[in-house]
């Protein structure tokens, strides 16, 4: 996949300290076009598609927001809660700003937990971007499959 001018600008914006303190890439030194192609293949290999992933994430986000910060149990299996901060955070692809909402999901009885943000959902939905290999808010497709489904 080519690095268009938009991708180049987005890659710049994703470095630590530009939009968020640790950035969206972690220590991943690949170009975002490569990260995206890789993850698209991974999603296909896992038998998932982007619509079901983002719908599932939005489902958990809605449940968590209902508790406005307090833990909510979902379907007896998951415990979720939301954390919100003041202000808005811009998308590195410069196509919008999002409320600062973090959602924490934990599978009951296991140590597995996952954290994602409203912006993170947008990055997956519109840009097929799960973030760099060890970025703090990276949503590994495998982790998603294991924990959220």
């Amino acid at each position: 996949m080519k690095m268009t001018p938009e991708y180049l600008k987005a890659q710049e914006n994703m470095h630590a300290g530009i939009i968020s303190s640790s950035g969206f890439l972690g220590s991943d030194s690949r170009l975002i076009s490569d990260i995206i192609s890789n993850d698209e293949e991974l999603v296909q290999a896992l038998g998932m598609n982007f619509t079901e992933i983002t719908n599932r994430l939005k489902f958990f986000m809605e449940k968590a927001l209902n508790g406005f910060g307090n833990p909510v149990t979902v379907d007896e299996v998951w415990e979720v809660f939301s954390e919100e901060a003041r202000g808005v955070i811009p998308c590195p692809f410069e196509d919008g700003s999002f409320k600062k909402i973090n959602i924490y999901v934990k599978k009951k009885g296991s140590k597995d937990s996952i954290v994602f943000s409203d912006l993170g959902i947008h990055l997956i939905e519109k840009h097929h971007f799960f973030q760099g290999r060890d970025a703090f808010f990276r949503l590994d497709p495998e982790k998603i499959k294991k924990i959220l489904f």
Binding site: S21, F68, G69, E84, A85, E94, V115
Partner: protein, 374 residues
């Protein structure tokens, strides 16, 4: 090709490039050399003269008028809205995501995207004309919980700030570490207006947050910081109504300022009910101080509630969602017939849920005041 060619060719290229570069510089100095323009604010209330060429946001701030901005002018926060009364050209694509249809009709624009190329007339909320920039030093950094710090700033110049309890400031930190530009974020002041040589802020660490990470990991006592303020419409209304306050975590800041201000002014006529919601005991702070205030000010009632207490907490107080506790008190403890006002500070979700409970219990939305996070 003779020796002469080796000299002539590069020389010609250099001379040519030089000549063209000179022309570019000439045009640049002519084209980008803006004269001075007049800025008319609020129909002549304030008139400024400034050199053109920069954005309205930057130009105004260089003249001491501070329009709120969280992103420093990159068109990614939408906080710098102003009403333009003269012609500044069509709305730029960078502004569109932040303007509603009504705002577009009303000529509301983003100050950071308007380049000063002509005389301009605009309207801004009157309060903004009193906003100043302050140099301050960090007097103390205190841990309140595992993720909230209390930062007390001592003002240097100007050395005092005139604000209403409940207002906020925009804290500005310089570039640090990997962050190439300065960052600004809004924080409510938790000190009282009488303590006008300080700005006390409650700052919770946000994962990945540019400013909160700095405050929690790098900020040192005696360090110099800059902030602008005061901003905001969240303050105590001058009535005799009973007050219902709901805020958790760092949202306590403006409420604390308002309540202690009332204590200082001996405003004991109004009953105050402060519902402080948290998840577990590790999220609680200022318990002793607020219980002490309860003792000194019998009109003040402090109700902390945990929604998810840890067994080890040994929590004896209220348990459950803060909105349920609020509902319980409104129905059983607080007099139903008295006129009431509500002051809320927290996330949009918490505020919406609280407003619903308040409405159900007879408190109209016009009497509910809040400082919504986003």
């Amino acid at each position: 090709m003779d020796i002469l060619t080796f000299i002539v060719a590069p020389m010609v290229l250099s001379l040519l490039s030089g000549a063209l570069a000179f022309i570019i510089v000439l045009v640049d100095s002519l084209v980008n050399n803006y004269p001075d323009f007049t800025i008319d604010i609020n129909n002549g209330r304030k008139k400024l003269t400034a050199k053109g060429g920069s954005s309205l946001l930057v130009t105004l701030s260089s003249q001491g008028i501070f329009i709120p901005s969280a992103c420093g002018g990159k068109a990614s926060c939408g906080a710098c809205k102003v009403k333009i009364e003269s012609d500044v050209g069509v709305i730029l694509p960078t502004e569109l995501p932040y303007l509603s249809e009504e705002e577009k009709k009303d000529n509301i624009r983003l100050a950071c995207q308007i380049k000063l190329k002509n005389n301009i007339r605009l309207s801004i909320p009157e309060d903004l004309l009193y906003v100043k920039q302050f140099d301050a030093t960090v007097e103390s950094i205190t841990d309140l919980t595992y993720d909230i710090k209390q930062i007390k700033l001592k003002l240097l110049s100007p050395d005092s700030i005139d604000f209403k309890a409940g207002q906020y400031v925009q804290l500005i930190i310089p570039p640090y570490g990997q962050i190439p530009e300065k960052t600004q974020r809004a924080y409510s002041m938790s000190n009282t207006p009488s303590d006008n040589q300080h700005a006390e802020l409650l700052i919770r660490l946000v994962p990945g947050g540019l400013l909160t990470t700095y405050v929690h990991k790098f900020m040192q006592v005696n360090e110099k910081v800059v902030f602008t303020g005061p901003f905001g419409d969240f303050f105590l209304r001058d009535t005799k109504a009973e007050m219902i306050c709901v805020a958790g975590g760092s949202g306590m800041a403006p409420i604390k300022s308002i309540i202690y201000d009332m204590y200082e002014k001996k405003n004991f006529d109004r009953s105050i009910w402060y519902f402080f919601g948290a998840k577990s005991a590790r999220d609680l702070f200022y318990l002793d101080e607020l219980k002490e205030l309860e003792r000194l000010m019998p009109s003040f009632h402090f109700i902390p509630a945990l929604s998810n207490p840890d067994p080890a907490d040994n929590w004896k107080g209220e348990t459950g969602l803060i909105t349920n506790i609020l509902d319980k008190y409104l129905k059983t403890v607080i007099k139903a017939s008295s006129p009431k006002e509500a002051y809320l500070c927290g996330s949009p979700g918490m505020i919406d849920a609280t407003v619903k409970v308040l409405n159900v219990n007879g408190i109209a939305s016009e009497k509910i005041y809040y400082d919504k996070f986003a």
